[in-house]
């Protein structure tokens, strides 16, 4: 889950990272807006809160010199959208006089299987460019059993040409946040040098979805996300499905396991079919979950064909078959063309269940795919 900037700000602020004064409104008519503007005082930076990057380039950050200008900017942002999503929150910050911008980040790197601390003398959008120059970005590895050590702080401070104790306070807070909130990524970009020292004026974080049910520090943020979900997303999250719209095709590809479902989709495309939806049931799907997945697909109204590829194992084929039959019963008159490939644990039971109700079950992916592509 990508956190909102204002959520990350509140985490960092609690941990003692210097930030600018700001407030957040959830509509242009928010009763807090005017008192907020007065408390903060001009000049302002008015920033749409979005779950993603590239906000600046899309005009979703607007500077304003006056209260009126800020009100105008807030209105404008609430009528904007970001990747098809309407803007739900707008943050109004005191605009800070920046002498220089830096970049600081912590990330969990899947490849090196370490935590990486990244630091650059150039904040903002130039970081990626800078990274291609040798020595442009300092990459310091942090061993998870050791944690952040003083020598790392010294190296970063040295690289940035900044005071080690100030940088140390920020890094220690970041490292604490990283673990306390299961952050896979935490970026301060830019970290601004002002006349009063360092201020983290923009910040982003991604938290590990697997930690959401386990880490109570995250419940507030998880609840906010929950409210924003579409029906499809809500069901997917609840049932453990991964659902991705992959194109304009009419074939929904369903499988158990991400790799298998992807490979199935790849095959459909190679065989000339047009996949439109990817749905991974996850491991050990029960009949209820299979039923829900199919009802979900039907509810979207975009797909006229379903190719389901199930390899039994932790998943029982007969459970899958029962789920299919229950879904078909529920919707009654079905326009959906359905091809099921089943193999593995309880395969024969599944096949006879399905065929007793006139649903064809194939032994190979090739046969099943042919059915929906033709």
């Amino acid at each position: 889950m990508i956190l909102y900037e204002f959520e990350v700000k509140s985490i960092l602020e609690k941990l003692g990272v210097p930030v600018e004064p700001s407030c957040v409104v959830s509509s242009p008519d928010d009763s807090l807006l005017h008192s907020c503007l007065r408390t903060i005082g001009p000049p302002y930076m008015v920033k749409a809160q979005v779950r993603g990057w590239g906000r600046g380039k899309r005009g979703l950050v607007i500077p304003a010199e006056t209260e009126d200008g800020a009100v105008q900017a807030v209105k404008e942002l609430f009528s904007s959208s970001y990747e098809g999503q309407r803007v739900r929150y707008v943050m109004i910050s005191r605009k800070v006089q920046v002498r220089r911008e830096y970049y600081l980040a912590l990330m969990l790197d899947a490849d090196s299987q370490r935590i990486l601390l990244l630091a650059s003398r150039e904040g903002g959008v130039d970081v990626e460019k800078l990274a291609r120059q040798p020595g442009g970005v300092l990459v310091q590895t942090i061993d998870p059993l050791l944690g952040l050590r003083d020598y790392m702080v010294r190296r970063v401070a040295e690289h940035l040409g900044l005071n080690a104790s100030e940088v140390g306070n920020i890094l220690r807070a970041m490292y604490t946040a990283f673990w306390s909130y299961n952050m896979i990524l935490l970026e301060l970009n830019p970290l601004a040098l002002t006349d009063r020292g360092l201020v983290a004026i923009d910040r982003k974080a991604i938290v590990d979805d697997d930690a959401l049910p386990l880490n109570s520090n995250l419940s507030e943020f998880a609840a906010r996300l929950q409210e924003e979900l579409s029906e499809v997303q809500r069901i997917s999250l609840k049932e453990g499905f991964t659902v991705v719209e992959v194109g304009e095709g009419g074939i929904a590809v369903v499988g158990n396991g991400a790799g298998l479902t992807m490979a199935t989709m790849d095959y459909v495309e190679q065989a000339g079919g047009k996949p439109g939806l990817f749905l991974d049931l996850g491991g050990g799907a029960s009949s209820e979950r299979v039923e829900k997945a199919l009802l979900l697909i039907m509810s979207l109204g975009k797909y006229d064909k379903v190719l389901m590829n199930i390899l039994g194992g932790i998943t029982r084929c007969d459970e899958v078959a029962r789920g299919i039959l229950r879904a078909l019963e529920r919707v009654g008159d079905v326009r959906l063309k359905m091809a099921v490939r089943l193999s593995g644990f309880m395969e024969e039971e599944a096949r006879s269940l399905l065929e007793s109700r006139g649903v064809r079950a194939f032994r190979t992916l090739e046969e099943a795919a042919k059915e929906v592509i033709s």
Partner: protein, 299 residues
């Protein structure tokens, strides 16, 4: 020989009284795996399919010092603790079936395991099977015929699919290893491949990858620098997937443009590893590497 598990494997099942633990204990026993004990706190004295249950790993090991492998079915919230216990008790191979363990937990766990010379398979893995010898996992055994091809896969069900296609084309498997689908895992492709290279019962390796992360690219680099090799054929899932999102600037800094289907295929092919473009092609590609490469890589 095979790798990781074989006739000498003696298994402890952690979380044996749970639904999954109990069901797969039975399946493994049916396959012939030597399961000697199980653990569930508070259930000491019970039996699951004839296997005695203990409160903790230390107690199980006291009674069954022959245990050399553990398989973990404990739910995500408690799984790390179960694995730490197994490590500290001295078990050197731990297969973690559990999914949804937070990445931070796994990161520490894997690092700790390595520091003690412990091999962790997974988490979020179907496990390991050496057909005809031993299965420590949840994979349907029928898909895996015994033979001389090693399989290493990030994905579970896709590994079964590949194994079953190999079987239908007459290839058997020495050992199949699911390294696990999570961000952080105990084993990398390189780790498993290097075991296959040393295994006298493996002639070639099928690598089953998927888009995202740079695990395949890293393997390609490793492979291209190796002196002693066995042939490898690869399959990568996700050719038709739309591009995913990157992790902000940090992702771009650290990973660059890797992780896509194109990047993976390019890296592997540049390293001399042919990539099957379709599931249907795997057998053919494998046959071709077996023919062309055997002469120069025979150990």
């Amino acid at each position: 020989m095979a790798i990781l598990v074989d006739e000498s494997t003696r298994v402890l099942v952690q979380g044996i009284t749970g639904r999954q633990g109990s069901m797969h204990t039975l399946e493994m026993l049916k396959y012939g795996t030597k399961i000697v004990a199980g653990v569930t706190p508070g259930k000491q004295g019970e039996k699951v399919h004839g296997v005695p249950v203990y409160n903790d790993v230390f107690s199980a090991l006291e009674e069954h010092p022959e245990i050399n492998t553990s398989i973990v079915f404990v739910p995500a919230a408690y799984a790390p603790d179960a694995v730490y216990e197994a490590i500290d008790a001295g078990i050197k191979l731990i297969v973690v079936i559990t999914e949804h363990i937070p990445a931070h937990e796994t990161l520490k766990l894997v690092r700790y395991g390595k520091s003690k010379g412990v091999t962790i398979v997974g988490p979020n893995t179907p496990g390991v099977i050496s057909p005809g010898k031993c299965k420590v996992g949840i994979m349907p055994a029928d898909y895996f015929a015994a033979g001389r091809i090693g399989i290493v896969s990030r994905s579970g069900t896709l590994m079964y699919e590949v194994a079953s296609r190999l079987r239908s084309e007459g290839f058997g498997v020495s050992t199949a290893v699911g390294i696990g689908g999570d961000m952080v895992t105990g084993l990398s492709f390189e780790d498993v491949y290097s075991m296959f290279v040393r295994d006298s019962e493996t002639d070639a390796v099928v690598l089953v990858g998927e888009i995202g992360s740079s695990k395949e690219e890293r393997f390609a680099k490793y492979f291209s620098e190796l002196k002693v090799k066995k042939p490898v054929a690869a399959f990568i899932a996700g050719r038709s997937a739309p591009p995913g999102r990157r992790m902000g600037h940090a992702g771009a800094i650290v990973m660059g443009d890797v992780g896509t289907y194109a990047s993976k295929v390019k890296s592997l092919e540049a390293a001399g590893i042919p990539v099957a473009k379709s599931l249907l092609d795997i057998g053919r590609v494998l046959s071709s590497v077996l023919k062309t490469n055997l002469a120069r890589t025979a150990l």
